[in-house]
């Protein structure tokens, strides 16, 4: 980043700054004219000075060359004007005034918009540049760079800089000119008074900035303190589990409290100082008129100064303080922003960044041939050698096991091969290329590294798997031509990338697929092999099917729905599922589901919110259900209070079973007490809260004996009314059930069932799930369901998955791009031993014909590999896998493997 903010601004916005300044200058004559016009209206038209000498008409709209009298000695008129009478002159001048107001407004509008756009563009450029720098942080720097602090910088800290940029050059020039004009005017009127004014201004300009220096120091501290606060808060949020486990709430609270106190203290000191400076500034500004009155008045009384001159000087002086004040404010802002900029630049100091790659580089061929390592030495952070002058050579592709001696040496070698670290001495070559000099494109395309941490991004499973296939956009998405042109122009003006995120970025050919459908199948196959077979089936069943995107699957689901029904009936299991029927109450479903007869898509209709929804409530009122449901709610509340009273708040049984949370129990008790005599006439908030309870009620599950046949009938009748009203109110916010259509808001499994599983029959869940799987297999729906699973959301950082699932997806992402060299370094850690063995076999199978390097903890796992590199005692020894004795002389080998000491020589 540029060291000086001003140079940075000037370099990137020179043209715009000059244009804005030019327009500001161009607007000045109009501005002055509008100031002068009121005087003319009053004097010439109203008081009639233009008609003083008795003439009937006066000229209007005279155009003359400015200062022509002074330049040429006589007035040069370009246009003599129209001769008009007094009334016309008044309206003419007033009209002119109105016109000038409009012109000035237009200028102002244009200038403000241009300044805003300039600031926003620079902000965009700066943010993007900072983000690009973030991507260049070296692994070493990343150890002490906090993610949230960087985010705060990019988001918040540069914001005021952006706001300032529009005014960076224009404002001081403009105000400076104004102030200088006023000062010169005073000087011309009276030299001594002028000098006096200039002296006070000089003092203002030297003392105030000095006083502000301390302010800047504090500002710097404040910025760092708030940045650290943001960092600390996000650390605590990330580690909230540890806080809970160790009950460190009080400690963390105290810590943040202390930080907030320090922040307050800093800010308070800044305020005190700021207003002190302001006070001084005002005092100095008021000092000048004091001198004018006292000194000027003294001279005037002594007759040494013309009173008219004094009045003119004082009048002119009134013009001086506003621009000065604004200039000083601008200066303050400038320093403030400069400090912010310096702090930001420091965060992205060059020593923290890796050198900028000159170009992306082109992919230049497969990584095969001889892997030659010469004199490789690597050290850890403390300078301890991990690998010492190791040399060896191997022919690639090969399946290489890296077996360590329990130390970090094997992993260090893996990281070097994977280009995860560049801090090593010696040489690593693959074929005729140095590993360090591989282009980013080659390394990204042809290498994959799976470390201990599986880094997933929020999004779907598919998004994460194809992450390594998105190197550049391949096909442009349809885009409105004008929109596109505008997007490109803006991107070019701000140094942003011109690629569109909506384009098709996924290079299916990298995965060896012909189209996206084939890619999906490949990915599913990969996931199955990585031990996620059951998971993806489950994800698929719990996934949503968008009939628009998967029309075939939607049709098949309807067919499967029918088949499942017949299958259940044939197996005498029909009573295990109660199907949705618009004419019948579904006893296994909640009251809310029965009333809506669909799945809510709008948050306002979900859960307890439904009780507050006015359209829904109107429908209940119209159907006369409100009082009954409220009474039902009261009964539920009564029972909950009775049976859960003894449990301490926060007890797991509360969460799992109670309709009412522990905190709400007293509220409901109060409601019941208010209506102790008669369980009727509930109103307002009480009514809403009681109505919320029966919405989740299922008779066979909760068994409070609250719903009987007549009520069921009324609820079914109300269903129609609810739907009508919701539909009439515009977007209903509910995806209604329809036996012939897929419900896009319900999971696939619910769509297959199209009903609710009985709560009454033992083992119903398991048996129905088996039946579903049977139908799915019969109809060959599994692949389609698994494709739905690719849309499963992984959550932020994959937190909605288990560690093992995350690890599997991480491996899948590495393998999906079919790298020439796949390096496995600890990615199998979350798995158990047997699973690890199976996975290793699958990974080797998936890397057939290509190189795979796996860091293993023991020799036992190395049997399926071609070659073993043993990292022992900082040396690297090439050997053969255990369990494969290839000695020709029949001698018994120690340690089960034959080793060739090659350290220190080229094998």
């Amino acid at each position: 980043m540029e060291r000086s903010l001003f140079r940075y601004i000037w370099r990137h916005s020179r043209r715009d700054q000059l244009i804005i300044f030019a327009v500001v200058l161009a607007s000045l004559p109009f501005y002055f004219a509008s100031l002068d016009l009121p005087r003319r209206i009053v004097n010439e038209a109203i008081q009639g000075r233009a008609f003083e000498r008795g003439q009937e008409t006066a000229p209007f709209l005279v155009l003359s060359v400015p200062w022509s009298e002074w330049l040429f000695g006589h007035r040069v008129e370009l246009f003599g004007g129209f001769q008009v009478d007094r009334l016309t002159l008044l309206f003419g001048l007033s009209g002119l005034f109105l016109l000038l107001v409009l012109v000035n407004g237009a200028f102002k509008y244009w200038i403000n918009v241009a300044k805003g756009a300039l600031g926003e563009r620079m902000l965009r450029r700066m943010r993007f540049e900072l983000f690009s720098l973030t991507l260049r942080f070296t692994p070493e720097a990343l150890r002490d760079v906090k993610a949230s602090e960087t985010a705060t910088i990019i988001k918040d800290e540069v914001e005021p800089i952006g706001g300032f940029i529009g005014d960076a050059f224009t404002l001081p020039l403009f105000l400076g000119t104004q102030a200088a004009t006023a000062l010169i005017f005073i000087l011309v009127q009276n030299l001594w008074l002028g000098l006096l004014a200039a002296a006070v201004v000089g003092v203002q300009f030297t003392i105030i900035p000095r006083l502000r220096r301390e302010l800047l120091r504090l500002g710097k501290q404040r910025q760092l303190a708030s940045r650290r606060l943001a960092g600390r808060v996000s650390e605590i949020v990330d580690g909230i589990e540890a806080v809970k486990v160790h009950n460190a709430h009080a400690w963390e609270r105290a810590e943040i409290g202390q930080r907030l106190y320090e922040l307050f203290d800093l800010r308070f000191r800044i305020y005190k100082r700021k207003f002190m400076v302001k006070f001084l500034n005002n005092l100095l500004a008021q000092l000048t008129p004091f001198f004018f009155y006292a000194v000027g008045g003294y001279f005037a009384l002594r007759g040494q100064l013309d009173i008219g001159q004094l009045v003119a000087v004082i009048a002119a002086y009134r013009e001086l303080p506003p621009p000065l004040k604004e200039l000083i404010d601008w200066d303050q802002q400038r320093l403030d922003v400069q400090v912010k900029y310096d702090q930001v630049a420091q965060h992205f100091a060059p020593e923290r960044l890796a050198p900028e790659p000159e170009t992306e580089g082109e992919d230049d061929g497969p990584l095969v041939g001889q892997l030659a390592v010469r004199d490789l030495t690597a050290r850890d952070l403390h300078g301890q050698a991990l690998i010492d002058r190791a040399s060896f050579a191997l022919e690639l592709p090969a399946h290489i096991a890296l077996v360590g001696d329990g130390g970090p040496g094997a992993s260090a070698l893996a990281r070097i091969l994977a280009r995860q670290t560049t801090e090593f001495a010696g040489e690593v070559r693959i074929g005729d290329r140095d590993v360090r000099e591989l282009s980013r494109a080659t390394a990204g395309r042809r290498m994959a590294y799976a470390g201990v941490e599986a880094i997933l991004f929020p999004g779907t499973v598919r998004d994460n798997l194809v992450y390594g296939l998105r190197h550049r956009p391949l096909r442009s998405a349809a885009e409105d031509a004008r929109q596109k042109a505008r997007r490109l122009v803006e991107a070019r003006r701000t140094g942003n990338p011109i690629e569109n995120i909506a384009d098709c970025w996924i290079d299916v050919s990298l995965a060896g697929a012909a189209d996206e459908e084939e890619l999906d199948l490949l990915l599913i196959d990969l996931l199955r092999r990585l031990g996620l077979k059951d998971d993806i089936y489950r994800w698929g069943l719990s996934g949503m099917v968008d009939p628009g995107r998967h029309p075939d699957l939607a049709d098949q689901i309807i067919a499967a729905r029918i088949r499942l029904r017949t299958r259940l009936a044939a197996a005498d299991m029909a009573d295990l599922v109660e199907p949705f029927d618009v004419e019948r109450y579904n006893r296994q479903a909640t009251v809310a589901e029965n009333l809506l007869f669909g799945v809510p898509t709008s948050r306002a209709l979900m859960g307890r919110n439904l009780a507050e929804h006015h359209v829904f409530r109107e429908a209940l009122d119209a159907e006369g259900l409100t009082a009954d449901l409220a009474r039902m709610g009261a009964r539920i509340a009564e029972t909950m209070i009775e049976i859960f009273r003894g449990l301490p708040p926060g007890h797991p049984l509360f969460e799992q079973f109670s309709f009412i949370s522990a905190e709400e129990l007293p509220d409901y008790e109060a409601i019941l007490r208010r209506h102790a005599r008669r369980r009727d006439g509930f109103k307002g908030q009480d009514l809403t809260r009681l109505l919320a309870l029966p919405l989740a009620y299922i008779e066979p599950r909760h068994r409070l004996g609250l719903i009987e046949a007549p009520l069921e009938e009324r609820l079914v009748k109300a269903r129609r009314a609810v739907r009508d009203r919701l539909e009439r109110s515009g977007d209903p916010g509910v995806e209604f059930y329809d036996v012939e259509r897929v419900c896009a808001a319900a999971p696939l499994k619910d769509n297959l069932l199209f009903g609710r599983i009985s709560h009454r029959t033992a083992n119903a869940q398991v048996r129905v799930t088996e039946a579903i799987t049977g139908v799915v297999e019969e109809m060959g729906l599994r692949p389609a369901i698994e494709r739905v699973a690719l849309d499963h959301q992984v959550g932020p950082a994959g937190r909605m998955l288990t560690a093992a699932q995350r690890a599997s997806i991480n491996l899948g992402r590495c393998l999906a791009k079919r790298p020439d060299i796949f390096i496995l370094d600890g990615a199998l850690a979350p798995f158990g031993e047997t699973q690890r063995k199976d996975l290793l076999v699958s990974l080797l199978e998936a890397s057939r014909g290509r190189t795979m390097v796996a860091v293993l903890s023991s020799d036992r796992e190395s049997e399926s590999f071609d070659v073993v590199l043993r990292v022992e005692d900082m040396r690297v020894v090439v050997g053969e896998p255990s369990g494969r004795r290839t000695s020709t002389d029949g001698a018994v080998q120690h340690g089960g493997s034959r080793e060739k000491r090659v350290a220190g020589e080229v094998a």
């Binding site: 029972t639 003894g646 049984l653 799992q656 079973f657 068994r703 409070l704 009454r760 033992a762």
Partner: protein, 148 residues
């Protein structure tokens, strides 16, 4: 049949006789009422013990797998409790229980049950008393057998 009738049934179980009605209601509410068809298994010998059952209606047979095939050792009627030993001792099912006719039972989940025992000492005491009494009966039986 509602929660209240289930509470009535629970009161007939010796283990629960002494317990507060509100607690029994909680026990019933947190349990599931399930229906077994004739011949349907509650659980099989060797399964992990995940729940206890109180028979509300119907009958069930307890049988053991022996080298000579399955033999029925007991018949359970209304208000009998079965499977409670397994969830207390955390051992696999020691016998198979099959519904002899259409049977309705209250399924008490193991986790919930243990949660209730930890929360309410009165319940834990009642269970302990029942187990101790069973042990005493077994001892007496053993003594009789060794005498004879």
């Amino acid at each position: 049949m509602t929660l209240d009738t289930e509470v009535q049934s629970l009161r007939q179980v010796p283990m629960f006789r002494e317990i507060d009605p509100a607690r029994l209601k909680l026990l019933a509410f947190t349990s599931e009422r399930v229906h077994f068809a004739a011949g349907q298994r509650f659980f099989s010998q060797g399964d992990a013990a995940d729940a206890a059952y109180v028979i509300l209606e119907g009958k069930a047979n307890v049988s053991l797998d022996t080298p000579n095939g399955e033999i029925t050792v007991a018949e359970l009627g209304q208000n009998a409790i079965v499977g409670e030993m397994g969830i207390l001792s955390d051992s696999p099912r020691s016998a198979t229980v099959v519904a002899a006719q259409p049977t309705t039972a209250l399924r008490i989940d193991k986790r919930v049950f243990l949660e209730l025992l930890t929360q309410f000492p009165q319940m834990a005491m009642a269970v302990m008393r029942e187990i101790a009494m069973r042990l005493e009966r077994t001892n007496a039986q053993l003594a009789r057998q060794s005498r004879s």
